[in-house]
Symmetry: D2
Subunit: 145 residues, 4 copies
Protein backbone atom coordinates (compact mmCIF):
# COMPACT_ATOMS: atom_id res chain seq x y z
CA UNK A 1 0.00 0.00 0.00
CA UNK A 2 1.21 3.47 -0.92
CA UNK A 3 2.12 6.20 1.56
CA UNK A 4 0.51 9.56 0.99
CA UNK A 5 1.45 12.95 2.40
CA UNK A 6 -1.62 15.00 3.36
CA UNK A 7 -1.89 18.48 1.81
CA UNK A 8 -3.88 19.66 4.83
CA UNK A 9 -2.32 18.99 8.26
CA UNK A 10 -5.81 19.28 9.68
CA UNK A 11 -7.21 16.55 7.41
CA UNK A 12 -8.51 14.34 10.23
CA UNK A 13 -10.67 17.04 11.74
CA UNK A 14 -12.09 17.86 8.32
CA UNK A 15 -12.97 14.20 7.69
CA UNK A 16 -14.53 13.75 11.14
CA UNK A 17 -16.64 16.91 10.82
CA UNK A 18 -17.97 15.87 7.43
CA UNK A 19 -18.72 12.33 8.65
CA UNK A 20 -20.64 13.79 11.60
CA UNK A 21 -22.89 15.62 9.14
CA UNK A 22 -23.90 12.37 7.41
CA UNK A 23 -27.32 11.62 8.84
CA UNK A 24 -27.31 8.22 7.11
CA UNK A 25 -24.18 7.11 9.00
CA UNK A 26 -25.82 8.13 12.26
CA UNK A 27 -29.03 6.28 11.32
CA UNK A 28 -27.05 3.15 10.42
CA UNK A 29 -25.12 3.45 13.68
CA UNK A 30 -21.81 3.51 11.79
CA UNK A 31 -18.72 5.04 13.39
CA UNK A 32 -15.52 6.48 12.02
CA UNK A 33 -12.65 4.40 13.41
CA UNK A 34 -9.35 5.30 11.79
CA UNK A 35 -8.45 8.30 9.64
CA UNK A 36 -4.99 8.28 8.08
CA UNK A 37 -3.71 10.06 4.96
CA UNK A 38 -5.40 8.18 2.12
CA UNK A 39 -6.92 5.48 4.34
CA UNK A 40 -10.12 5.37 6.38
CA UNK A 41 -11.94 2.73 8.44
CA UNK A 42 -15.60 2.70 9.43
CA UNK A 43 -17.12 0.33 11.98
CA UNK A 44 -20.65 -1.03 11.90
CA UNK A 45 -22.64 -3.28 14.18
CA UNK A 46 -25.28 -5.53 12.61
CA UNK A 47 -28.85 -4.28 12.88
CA UNK A 48 -31.76 -6.34 11.70
CA UNK A 49 -33.65 -3.37 10.29
CA UNK A 50 -31.09 -3.07 7.50
CA UNK A 51 -31.29 -6.62 6.18
CA UNK A 52 -32.37 -8.00 2.84
CA UNK A 53 -34.76 -10.92 2.31
CA UNK A 54 -32.36 -13.60 3.64
CA UNK A 55 -31.50 -11.77 6.84
CA UNK A 56 -28.07 -10.54 5.71
CA UNK A 57 -27.02 -6.90 5.61
CA UNK A 58 -28.52 -5.23 2.53
CA UNK A 59 -26.11 -4.60 -0.37
CA UNK A 60 -27.12 -0.95 -0.26
CA UNK A 61 -25.93 -0.64 3.33
CA UNK A 62 -22.73 -2.53 2.47
CA UNK A 63 -22.29 0.04 -0.30
CA UNK A 64 -23.03 2.96 2.02
CA UNK A 65 -20.27 1.87 4.39
CA UNK A 66 -17.59 1.19 1.76
CA UNK A 67 -18.47 4.20 -0.41
CA UNK A 68 -18.31 6.49 2.62
CA UNK A 69 -14.93 5.06 3.63
CA UNK A 70 -13.69 5.57 0.04
CA UNK A 71 -14.98 9.15 -0.03
CA UNK A 72 -13.21 10.06 3.19
CA UNK A 73 -10.00 8.32 2.13
CA UNK A 74 -10.09 10.66 -0.88
CA UNK A 75 -11.03 13.70 1.22
CA UNK A 76 -8.11 13.07 3.60
CA UNK A 77 -5.67 13.95 0.80
CA UNK A 78 -7.35 17.14 -0.43
CA UNK A 79 -6.56 20.77 0.27
CA UNK A 80 -8.57 22.70 2.87
CA UNK A 81 -11.91 23.89 1.53
CA UNK A 82 -12.33 20.91 -0.80
CA UNK A 83 -15.35 18.62 -0.82
CA UNK A 84 -15.48 15.14 -2.33
CA UNK A 85 -18.36 13.56 -4.24
CA UNK A 86 -18.76 9.98 -5.48
CA UNK A 87 -18.69 9.86 -9.28
CA UNK A 88 -19.24 6.13 -9.53
CA UNK A 89 -18.38 2.83 -7.89
CA UNK A 90 -18.49 -0.86 -8.61
CA UNK A 91 -19.07 -3.34 -5.81
CA UNK A 92 -18.54 -7.09 -5.92
CA UNK A 93 -20.37 -9.04 -3.24
CA UNK A 94 -18.09 -11.89 -2.22
CA UNK A 95 -19.90 -13.62 0.63
CA UNK A 96 -23.13 -13.09 2.58
CA UNK A 97 -22.91 -10.06 4.86
CA UNK A 98 -23.43 -12.19 7.97
CA UNK A 99 -21.96 -11.38 11.34
CA UNK A 100 -22.24 -9.07 14.30
CA UNK A 101 -19.45 -6.59 13.61
CA UNK A 102 -18.13 -5.22 10.37
CA UNK A 103 -15.37 -2.89 9.30
CA UNK A 104 -15.12 -1.02 6.00
CA UNK A 105 -11.56 -0.20 4.97
CA UNK A 106 -10.74 2.10 2.09
CA UNK A 107 -7.49 3.36 0.61
CA UNK A 108 -6.58 5.74 -2.16
CA UNK A 109 -5.17 4.02 -5.24
CA UNK A 110 -4.40 7.21 -7.11
CA UNK A 111 -5.01 10.81 -6.11
CA UNK A 112 -5.38 13.22 -9.01
CA UNK A 113 -6.15 16.91 -9.13
CA UNK A 114 -9.84 16.39 -9.85
CA UNK A 115 -10.40 12.66 -9.60
CA UNK A 116 -9.28 10.21 -6.96
CA UNK A 117 -9.58 6.45 -7.38
CA UNK A 118 -10.12 4.41 -4.23
CA UNK A 119 -10.44 0.75 -3.34
CA UNK A 120 -12.43 -0.42 -0.35
CA UNK A 121 -13.59 -3.62 1.29
CA UNK A 122 -16.09 -4.68 3.89
CA UNK A 123 -14.98 -7.32 6.37
CA UNK A 124 -17.06 -9.28 8.85
CA UNK A 125 -15.17 -9.66 12.12
CA UNK A 126 -15.33 -13.27 13.33
CA UNK A 127 -13.89 -14.97 16.40
CA UNK A 128 -11.34 -16.68 14.19
CA UNK A 129 -10.43 -13.66 12.10
CA UNK A 130 -11.90 -11.50 9.37
CA UNK A 131 -13.94 -12.54 6.37
CA UNK A 132 -14.17 -10.34 3.30
CA UNK A 133 -17.79 -9.57 2.39
CA UNK A 134 -17.45 -7.16 -0.53
CA UNK A 135 -14.88 -5.20 -2.51
CA UNK A 136 -15.29 -1.84 -4.23
CA UNK A 137 -13.44 0.20 -6.83
CA UNK A 138 -14.61 3.82 -6.79
CA UNK A 139 -14.01 7.17 -8.48
CA UNK A 140 -14.30 10.34 -6.39
CA UNK A 141 -14.35 13.96 -7.58
CA UNK A 142 -12.89 16.94 -5.71
CA UNK A 143 -14.97 20.11 -5.61
CA UNK A 144 -13.18 23.27 -4.56
CA UNK A 145 -14.61 26.47 -3.20
Amino acid sequence: MKDFAPRDPDFERRVRESFARQRAMETFGAGLLRVAPGAVEIGFEFREEFTQQHGYLHAGVVTALVDTACGYAALSLTEPGTEVLSVEFKLNLLSPAAGRNFVARARVVRAGRNLTVCAGDLYALKDDGEKIVATMLATMMSMRG
Copy 2:
Protein backbone atom coordinates in the same frame (compact mmCIF):
# COMPACT_ATOMS: atom_id res chain seq x y z
CA MET B 1 -36.92 -2.40 -24.37
CA LYS B 2 -37.24 -6.15 -24.77
CA ASP B 3 -40.35 -8.14 -23.97
CA PHE B 4 -39.87 -11.14 -21.75
CA ALA B 5 -42.18 -14.08 -21.12
CA PRO B 6 -42.23 -15.11 -17.47
CA ARG B 7 -41.43 -18.76 -16.70
CA ASP B 8 -43.58 -18.59 -13.59
CA PRO B 9 -47.14 -17.26 -14.06
CA ASP B 10 -47.10 -16.42 -10.38
CA PHE B 11 -43.99 -14.25 -10.66
CA GLU B 12 -45.55 -11.11 -9.22
CA ARG B 13 -46.61 -12.77 -5.99
CA ARG B 14 -43.14 -14.24 -5.60
CA VAL B 15 -41.50 -10.84 -6.09
CA ARG B 16 -43.89 -9.10 -3.69
CA GLU B 17 -43.42 -11.73 -0.97
CA SER B 18 -39.64 -11.48 -1.19
CA PHE B 19 -39.74 -7.67 -1.15
CA ALA B 20 -41.91 -7.79 1.96
CA ARG B 21 -39.17 -9.79 3.71
CA GLN B 22 -36.59 -7.05 3.10
CA ARG B 23 -36.38 -5.26 6.43
CA ALA B 24 -34.16 -2.57 4.85
CA MET B 25 -36.87 -1.61 2.34
CA GLU B 26 -39.36 -1.28 5.19
CA THR B 27 -36.89 0.80 7.22
CA PHE B 28 -36.24 3.08 4.24
CA GLY B 29 -39.98 3.38 3.66
CA ALA B 30 -39.60 2.12 0.08
CA GLY B 31 -42.56 0.55 -1.72
CA LEU B 32 -42.87 -1.85 -4.63
CA LEU B 33 -44.83 -0.05 -7.35
CA ARG B 34 -44.85 -2.03 -10.59
CA VAL B 35 -43.87 -5.64 -11.21
CA ALA B 36 -43.81 -6.76 -14.86
CA PRO B 37 -41.86 -9.59 -16.50
CA GLY B 38 -38.28 -8.33 -16.47
CA ALA B 39 -39.14 -4.85 -15.16
CA VAL B 40 -39.70 -3.52 -11.65
CA GLU B 41 -40.31 -0.09 -10.12
CA ILE B 42 -39.76 0.95 -6.51
CA GLY B 43 -40.99 4.21 -5.01
CA PHE B 44 -39.26 6.16 -2.25
CA GLU B 45 -40.08 9.32 -0.37
CA PHE B 46 -37.19 11.50 0.83
CA ARG B 47 -36.26 11.11 4.48
CA GLU B 48 -33.66 13.27 6.11
CA GLU B 49 -32.25 10.45 8.21
CA PHE B 50 -30.81 8.84 5.08
CA THR B 51 -28.84 11.82 3.78
CA GLN B 52 -25.12 12.36 3.26
CA GLN B 53 -23.14 15.40 4.36
CA HIS B 54 -24.75 17.81 1.87
CA GLY B 55 -28.32 16.88 2.69
CA TYR B 56 -28.90 14.72 -0.40
CA LEU B 57 -29.94 11.08 -0.32
CA HIS B 58 -26.92 8.91 0.50
CA ALA B 59 -25.39 6.99 -2.43
CA GLY B 60 -25.81 3.80 -0.41
CA VAL B 61 -29.55 4.33 -0.21
CA VAL B 62 -29.66 5.21 -3.92
CA THR B 63 -27.85 1.92 -4.47
CA ALA B 64 -30.23 0.01 -2.19
CA LEU B 65 -33.23 1.17 -4.22
CA VAL B 66 -31.79 0.53 -7.68
CA ASP B 67 -30.08 -2.76 -6.72
CA THR B 68 -33.33 -4.05 -5.20
CA ALA B 69 -35.26 -3.08 -8.32
CA CYS B 70 -32.63 -4.86 -10.45
CA GLY B 71 -32.78 -7.97 -8.28
CA TYR B 72 -36.55 -8.24 -8.56
CA ALA B 73 -36.51 -7.55 -12.30
CA ALA B 74 -34.23 -10.59 -12.52
CA LEU B 75 -36.36 -12.64 -10.10
CA SER B 76 -39.51 -11.95 -12.12
CA LEU B 77 -38.13 -14.07 -14.97
CA THR B 78 -37.00 -17.08 -12.93
CA GLU B 79 -38.67 -20.43 -12.34
CA PRO B 80 -40.58 -21.08 -9.11
CA GLY B 81 -38.30 -21.92 -6.21
CA THR B 82 -35.45 -19.72 -7.47
CA GLU B 83 -33.80 -17.00 -5.44
CA VAL B 84 -31.70 -14.16 -6.83
CA LEU B 85 -28.53 -12.66 -5.34
CA SER B 86 -26.54 -9.61 -6.43
CA VAL B 87 -23.14 -10.62 -7.78
CA GLU B 88 -21.95 -7.08 -8.46
CA PHE B 89 -23.12 -3.69 -9.66
CA LYS B 90 -21.70 -0.42 -10.88
CA LEU B 91 -23.50 2.82 -10.16
CA ASN B 92 -22.87 6.20 -11.78
CA LEU B 93 -24.18 9.16 -9.81
CA LEU B 94 -25.42 11.68 -12.37
CA SER B 95 -26.93 14.48 -10.31
CA PRO B 96 -27.51 15.21 -6.61
CA ALA B 97 -30.26 13.00 -5.17
CA ALA B 98 -32.42 16.00 -4.31
CA GLY B 99 -36.20 15.93 -4.28
CA ARG B 100 -39.19 14.70 -2.39
CA ASN B 101 -40.16 11.63 -4.40
CA PHE B 102 -38.04 9.13 -6.25
CA VAL B 103 -38.63 6.10 -8.38
CA ALA B 104 -36.13 3.34 -9.14
CA ARG B 105 -36.75 1.56 -12.45
CA ALA B 106 -34.95 -1.61 -13.45
CA ARG B 107 -35.15 -3.84 -16.49
CA VAL B 108 -33.48 -7.08 -17.52
CA VAL B 109 -30.93 -6.64 -20.30
CA ARG B 110 -30.19 -10.34 -20.68
CA ALA B 111 -31.56 -13.29 -18.75
CA GLY B 112 -29.27 -16.31 -18.68
CA ARG B 113 -29.59 -19.65 -16.93
CA ASN B 114 -27.41 -18.64 -14.01
CA LEU B 115 -26.66 -14.97 -14.51
CA THR B 116 -29.00 -12.12 -15.37
CA VAL B 117 -27.75 -8.67 -16.34
CA CYS B 118 -29.98 -5.73 -15.42
CA ALA B 119 -29.93 -1.98 -15.92
CA GLY B 120 -31.61 0.38 -13.48
CA ASP B 121 -31.98 4.08 -12.84
CA LEU B 122 -33.13 6.32 -10.05
CA TYR B 123 -35.27 9.31 -11.00
CA ALA B 124 -36.29 12.29 -8.89
CA LEU B 125 -39.89 13.23 -9.63
CA LYS B 126 -40.21 16.97 -10.14
CA ASP B 127 -43.19 19.16 -10.92
CA ASP B 128 -41.87 19.64 -14.43
CA GLY B 129 -40.93 16.03 -15.08
CA GLU B 130 -38.34 13.51 -14.00
CA LYS B 131 -34.64 13.98 -13.47
CA ILE B 132 -32.22 11.08 -13.62
CA VAL B 133 -30.14 10.80 -10.44
CA ALA B 134 -28.13 7.62 -11.01
CA THR B 135 -27.75 4.71 -13.39
CA MET B 136 -26.71 1.13 -12.60
CA LEU B 137 -25.50 -1.91 -14.52
CA ALA B 138 -25.79 -5.05 -12.39
CA THR B 139 -25.17 -8.80 -12.50
CA MET B 140 -27.56 -11.08 -10.63
CA MET B 141 -27.19 -14.81 -9.92
CA SER B 142 -30.02 -17.34 -9.75
CA MET B 143 -29.93 -19.87 -6.92
CA ARG B 144 -32.20 -22.88 -7.30
CA GLY B 145 -33.47 -25.23 -4.63
Copy 3:
Protein backbone atom coordinates in the same frame (compact mmCIF):
# COMPACT_ATOMS: atom_id res chain seq x y z
CA MET C 1 -33.14 8.32 -25.84
CA LYS C 2 -32.38 11.96 -25.15
CA ASP C 3 -31.81 14.60 -27.80
CA PHE C 4 -28.70 16.69 -27.39
CA ALA C 5 -27.80 19.99 -29.05
CA PRO C 6 -24.12 20.11 -30.07
CA ARG C 7 -22.07 23.04 -28.73
CA ASP C 8 -19.82 22.83 -31.77
CA PRO C 9 -21.56 22.86 -35.18
CA ASP C 10 -18.44 21.22 -36.58
CA PHE C 11 -18.59 18.30 -34.13
CA GLU C 12 -18.66 15.58 -36.77
CA ARG C 13 -15.45 16.69 -38.43
CA ARG C 14 -13.76 16.87 -35.03
CA VAL C 15 -14.87 13.33 -34.16
CA ARG C 16 -13.82 11.92 -37.54
CA GLU C 17 -10.39 13.56 -37.39
CA SER C 18 -9.72 12.20 -33.92
CA PHE C 19 -10.91 8.72 -34.90
CA ALA C 20 -8.56 8.80 -37.89
CA ARG C 21 -5.64 9.36 -35.50
CA GLN C 22 -6.43 6.16 -33.57
CA ARG C 23 -3.90 3.69 -34.90
CA ALA C 24 -5.62 0.88 -32.96
CA MET C 25 -8.91 1.43 -34.83
CA GLU C 26 -7.05 1.25 -38.13
CA THR C 27 -5.21 -1.91 -37.03
CA PHE C 28 -8.50 -3.52 -35.96
CA GLY C 29 -10.08 -2.49 -39.27
CA ALA C 30 -12.85 -0.62 -37.43
CA GLY C 31 -14.73 2.17 -39.18
CA LEU C 32 -16.72 5.14 -37.95
CA LEU C 33 -20.26 4.74 -39.26
CA ARG C 34 -22.61 7.31 -37.76
CA VAL C 35 -21.81 10.48 -35.81
CA ALA C 36 -24.76 12.31 -34.31
CA PRO C 37 -24.88 14.70 -31.32
CA GLY C 38 -24.36 12.40 -28.34
CA ALA C 39 -24.46 9.17 -30.37
CA VAL C 40 -21.81 7.30 -32.35
CA GLU C 41 -21.64 3.99 -34.21
CA ILE C 42 -18.54 2.02 -35.14
CA GLY C 43 -18.51 -0.95 -37.52
CA PHE C 44 -16.17 -3.92 -37.29
CA GLU C 45 -15.65 -7.01 -39.39
CA PHE C 46 -14.50 -10.19 -37.64
CA ARG C 47 -10.81 -10.97 -37.91
CA GLU C 48 -9.35 -14.16 -36.58
CA GLU C 49 -6.18 -12.49 -35.33
CA PHE C 50 -8.18 -10.74 -32.60
CA THR C 51 -9.80 -13.81 -31.05
CA GLN C 52 -9.52 -15.33 -27.61
CA GLN C 53 -8.96 -19.01 -26.85
CA HIS C 54 -12.41 -20.17 -28.07
CA GLY C 55 -12.28 -18.36 -31.38
CA TYR C 56 -14.58 -15.48 -30.39
CA LEU C 57 -13.61 -11.83 -30.54
CA HIS C 58 -11.40 -10.97 -27.54
CA ALA C 59 -13.11 -9.01 -24.73
CA GLY C 60 -10.36 -6.40 -25.04
CA VAL C 61 -11.28 -5.76 -28.66
CA VAL C 62 -14.98 -5.69 -27.74
CA THR C 63 -13.99 -3.09 -25.14
CA ALA C 64 -11.90 -1.11 -27.63
CA LEU C 65 -14.88 -0.77 -29.97
CA VAL C 66 -17.47 0.18 -27.36
CA ASP C 67 -15.14 2.44 -25.36
CA THR C 68 -14.15 4.29 -28.52
CA ALA C 69 -17.80 4.74 -29.50
CA CYS C 70 -18.54 6.04 -25.97
CA GLY C 71 -15.60 8.44 -26.11
CA TYR C 72 -16.72 9.94 -29.41
CA ALA C 73 -20.34 10.16 -28.30
CA ALA C 74 -19.00 12.29 -25.43
CA LEU C 75 -16.68 14.29 -27.70
CA SER C 76 -19.54 15.12 -30.07
CA LEU C 77 -21.14 17.28 -27.38
CA THR C 78 -18.04 19.22 -26.31
CA GLU C 79 -16.86 22.69 -27.27
CA PRO C 80 -14.19 23.17 -29.93
CA GLY C 81 -10.69 22.53 -28.61
CA THR C 82 -11.82 19.93 -26.10
CA GLU C 83 -10.41 16.41 -25.89
CA VAL C 84 -12.04 13.46 -24.16
CA LEU C 85 -10.36 10.74 -22.10
CA SER C 86 -11.82 7.56 -20.64
CA VAL C 87 -11.89 7.73 -16.84
CA GLU C 88 -13.32 4.26 -16.36
CA PHE C 89 -15.78 1.78 -17.80
CA LYS C 90 -17.56 -1.40 -16.86
CA LEU C 91 -18.40 -3.99 -19.49
CA ASN C 92 -20.78 -6.91 -19.16
CA LEU C 93 -20.24 -9.69 -21.69
CA LEU C 94 -23.69 -11.02 -22.56
CA SER C 95 -23.07 -13.60 -25.27
CA PRO C 96 -20.06 -14.94 -27.20
CA ALA C 97 -18.73 -12.38 -29.67
CA ALA C 98 -19.43 -14.66 -32.63
CA GLY C 99 -20.36 -13.42 -36.08
CA ARG C 100 -18.96 -11.77 -39.18
CA ASN C 101 -20.09 -8.16 -38.68
CA PHE C 102 -20.45 -6.11 -35.54
CA VAL C 103 -21.60 -2.64 -34.67
CA ALA C 104 -20.80 -0.72 -31.49
CA ARG C 105 -23.41 1.88 -30.58
CA ALA C 106 -22.89 4.47 -27.85
CA ARG C 107 -25.00 7.29 -26.52
CA VAL C 108 -24.52 9.97 -23.90
CA VAL C 109 -26.55 9.41 -20.74
CA ARG C 110 -25.55 12.67 -19.09
CA ALA C 111 -23.19 15.36 -20.30
CA GLY C 112 -21.59 17.41 -17.54
CA ARG C 113 -19.03 20.17 -17.66
CA ASN C 114 -16.12 17.90 -16.83
CA LEU C 115 -17.55 14.40 -16.83
CA THR C 116 -19.83 12.71 -19.35
CA VAL C 117 -21.48 9.36 -18.68
CA CYS C 118 -22.12 7.15 -21.70
CA ALA C 119 -23.75 3.78 -22.36
CA GLY C 120 -22.70 1.59 -25.24
CA ASP C 121 -23.36 -1.86 -26.65
CA LEU C 122 -21.81 -4.20 -29.14
CA TYR C 123 -24.17 -6.05 -31.48
CA ALA C 124 -23.42 -8.95 -33.80
CA LEU C 125 -25.31 -8.50 -37.06
CA LYS C 126 -27.04 -11.75 -38.05
CA ASP C 127 -29.19 -12.62 -41.03
CA ASP C 128 -32.23 -12.65 -38.77
CA GLY C 129 -31.43 -9.47 -36.87
CA GLU C 130 -29.01 -8.23 -34.26
CA LYS C 131 -27.73 -9.98 -31.17
CA ILE C 132 -26.35 -8.03 -28.23
CA VAL C 133 -22.85 -9.16 -27.31
CA ALA C 134 -21.85 -6.74 -24.55
CA THR C 135 -23.01 -3.62 -22.74
CA MET C 136 -20.90 -0.85 -21.22
CA LEU C 137 -21.39 2.00 -18.78
CA ALA C 138 -18.53 4.49 -19.03
CA THR C 139 -17.29 7.78 -17.56
CA MET C 140 -15.45 10.21 -19.83
CA MET C 141 -13.54 13.36 -18.87
CA SER C 142 -13.29 16.53 -20.93
CA MET C 143 -9.89 18.18 -21.20
CA ARG C 144 -9.84 21.74 -22.48
CA GLY C 145 -6.97 23.69 -24.00
Copy 4:
Protein backbone atom coordinates in the same frame (compact mmCIF):
# COMPACT_ATOMS: atom_id res chain seq x y z
CA MET D 1 -2.28 -11.19 -0.70
CA LYS D 2 -3.91 -14.55 -0.10
CA ASP D 3 -2.27 -17.91 -0.71
CA PHE D 4 -4.27 -20.36 -2.76
CA ALA D 5 -3.79 -24.09 -3.15
CA PRO D 6 -4.35 -25.22 -6.75
CA ARG D 7 -6.92 -27.98 -7.30
CA ASP D 8 -5.04 -29.14 -10.38
CA PRO D 9 -1.29 -29.81 -9.94
CA ASP D 10 -0.98 -29.30 -13.68
CA PHE D 11 -2.51 -25.82 -13.57
CA GLU D 12 0.40 -24.03 -15.18
CA ARG D 13 0.41 -26.19 -18.30
CA ARG D 14 -3.35 -25.68 -18.64
CA VAL D 15 -2.97 -21.90 -18.38
CA ARG D 16 -0.08 -21.79 -20.85
CA GLU D 17 -1.89 -23.96 -23.40
CA SER D 18 -4.99 -21.80 -23.26
CA PHE D 19 -2.97 -18.59 -23.53
CA ALA D 20 -1.22 -20.00 -26.60
CA ARG D 21 -4.62 -20.42 -28.28
CA GLN D 22 -5.42 -16.70 -27.87
CA ARG D 23 -4.73 -15.28 -31.30
CA ALA D 24 -5.24 -11.74 -29.93
CA MET D 25 -2.38 -12.14 -27.44
CA GLU D 26 -0.12 -13.31 -30.26
CA THR D 27 -1.20 -10.38 -32.45
CA PHE D 28 -0.54 -7.92 -29.64
CA GLY D 29 2.83 -9.56 -29.00
CA ALA D 30 1.91 -10.21 -25.35
CA GLY D 31 3.68 -12.96 -23.43
CA LEU D 32 2.77 -14.99 -20.37
CA LEU D 33 5.41 -14.29 -17.72
CA ARG D 34 4.47 -15.80 -14.38
CA VAL D 35 1.80 -18.35 -13.55
CA ALA D 36 1.24 -19.06 -9.85
CA PRO D 37 -1.86 -20.38 -8.05
CA GLY D 38 -4.28 -17.46 -8.23
CA ALA D 39 -1.79 -15.01 -9.74
CA VAL D 40 -0.68 -14.38 -13.31
CA GLU D 41 1.57 -11.84 -15.05
CA ILE D 42 1.56 -10.88 -18.72
CA GLY D 43 4.28 -8.81 -20.40
CA PHE D 44 3.74 -6.42 -23.29
CA GLU D 45 6.04 -4.25 -25.35
CA PHE D 46 4.65 -0.98 -26.73
CA ARG D 47 3.58 -1.08 -30.38
CA GLU D 48 2.43 2.01 -32.18
CA GLU D 49 -0.27 0.19 -34.12
CA PHE D 50 -2.28 -0.26 -30.91
CA THR D 51 -2.41 3.39 -29.84
CA GLN D 52 -5.31 5.79 -29.41
CA GLN D 53 -5.49 9.34 -30.73
CA HIS D 54 -2.82 10.74 -28.36
CA GLY D 55 -0.25 8.06 -29.06
CA TYR D 56 -0.79 6.10 -25.83
CA LEU D 57 -1.77 2.45 -25.67
CA HIS D 58 -5.50 2.09 -26.41
CA ALA D 59 -7.73 1.41 -23.40
CA GLY D 60 -9.04 -1.67 -25.21
CA VAL D 61 -5.56 -3.14 -25.38
CA VAL D 62 -4.95 -2.21 -21.73
CA THR D 63 -8.18 -4.07 -21.01
CA ALA D 64 -7.16 -7.06 -23.13
CA LEU D 65 -3.96 -7.48 -21.12
CA VAL D 66 -5.46 -7.09 -17.65
CA ASP D 67 -8.63 -9.08 -18.43
CA THR D 68 -6.54 -11.94 -19.82
CA ALA D 69 -4.32 -11.91 -16.74
CA CYS D 70 -7.45 -11.95 -14.53
CA GLY D 71 -8.96 -14.83 -16.52
CA TYR D 72 -5.86 -16.98 -16.15
CA ALA D 73 -5.47 -16.14 -12.48
CA ALA D 74 -8.98 -17.57 -12.10
CA LEU D 75 -8.26 -20.56 -14.36
CA SER D 76 -5.16 -21.46 -12.32
CA LEU D 77 -7.38 -22.39 -9.36
CA THR D 78 -9.93 -24.51 -11.24
CA GLU D 79 -10.22 -28.26 -11.59
CA PRO D 80 -8.98 -30.00 -14.74
CA GLY D 81 -11.42 -29.72 -17.61
CA THR D 82 -12.71 -26.32 -16.54
CA GLU D 83 -12.78 -23.25 -18.77
CA VAL D 84 -13.10 -19.66 -17.59
CA LEU D 85 -15.06 -16.85 -19.23
CA SER D 86 -15.19 -13.15 -18.36
CA VAL D 87 -18.60 -12.18 -17.01
CA GLU D 88 -17.78 -8.51 -16.57
CA PHE D 89 -15.04 -6.13 -15.55
CA LYS D 90 -14.55 -2.53 -14.57
CA LEU D 91 -11.36 -0.72 -15.45
CA ASN D 92 -10.14 2.60 -14.06
CA LEU D 93 -7.53 4.34 -16.18
CA LEU D 94 -5.12 6.02 -13.76
CA SER D 95 -2.43 7.52 -15.96
CA PRO D 96 -1.61 7.61 -19.69
CA ALA D 97 -0.42 4.22 -20.95
CA ALA D 98 2.95 5.63 -21.97
CA GLY D 99 6.17 3.64 -21.91
CA ARG D 100 8.06 0.93 -23.69
CA ASN D 101 7.36 -2.08 -21.47
CA PHE D 102 4.28 -3.02 -19.52
CA VAL D 103 3.28 -5.78 -17.17
CA ALA D 104 -0.27 -6.81 -16.30
CA ARG D 105 -0.59 -8.45 -12.88
CA ALA D 106 -3.74 -10.18 -11.70
CA ARG D 107 -4.67 -12.01 -8.54
CA VAL D 108 -7.74 -13.86 -7.33
CA VAL D 109 -9.66 -12.00 -4.62
CA ARG D 110 -12.18 -14.76 -4.04
CA ALA D 111 -12.57 -18.11 -5.76
CA GLY D 112 -16.08 -19.53 -5.69
CA ARG D 113 -17.52 -22.66 -7.22
CA ASN D 114 -18.94 -20.87 -10.23
CA LEU D 115 -17.69 -17.30 -9.97
CA THR D 116 -14.21 -16.01 -9.24
CA VAL D 117 -13.50 -12.35 -8.52
CA CYS D 118 -10.10 -11.04 -9.57
CA ALA D 119 -8.20 -7.77 -9.31
CA GLY D 120 -5.59 -6.76 -11.85
CA ASP D 121 -3.38 -3.83 -12.72
CA LEU D 122 -1.29 -2.66 -15.62
CA TYR D 123 2.09 -1.15 -14.83
CA ALA D 124 4.44 0.75 -17.10
CA LEU D 125 8.04 -0.26 -16.36
CA LYS D 126 10.23 2.83 -16.07
CA ASP D 127 13.95 3.20 -15.38
CA ASP D 128 13.11 4.51 -11.93
CA GLY D 129 10.47 1.93 -11.07
CA GLU D 130 6.92 1.05 -12.03
CA LYS D 131 3.99 3.33 -12.66
CA ILE D 132 0.42 2.09 -12.37
CA VAL D 133 -1.57 2.73 -15.54
CA ALA D 134 -4.90 1.07 -14.83
CA THR D 135 -6.68 -1.09 -12.27
CA MET D 136 -9.43 -3.66 -12.86
CA LEU D 137 -11.99 -5.52 -10.78
CA ALA D 138 -13.39 -8.48 -12.71
CA THR D 139 -15.84 -11.37 -12.36
CA MET D 140 -14.99 -14.68 -14.06
CA MET D 141 -17.24 -17.72 -14.54
CA SER D 142 -16.11 -21.35 -14.49
CA MET D 143 -17.53 -23.65 -17.16
CA ARG D 144 -17.12 -27.35 -16.56
CA GLY D 145 -17.30 -30.18 -19.06
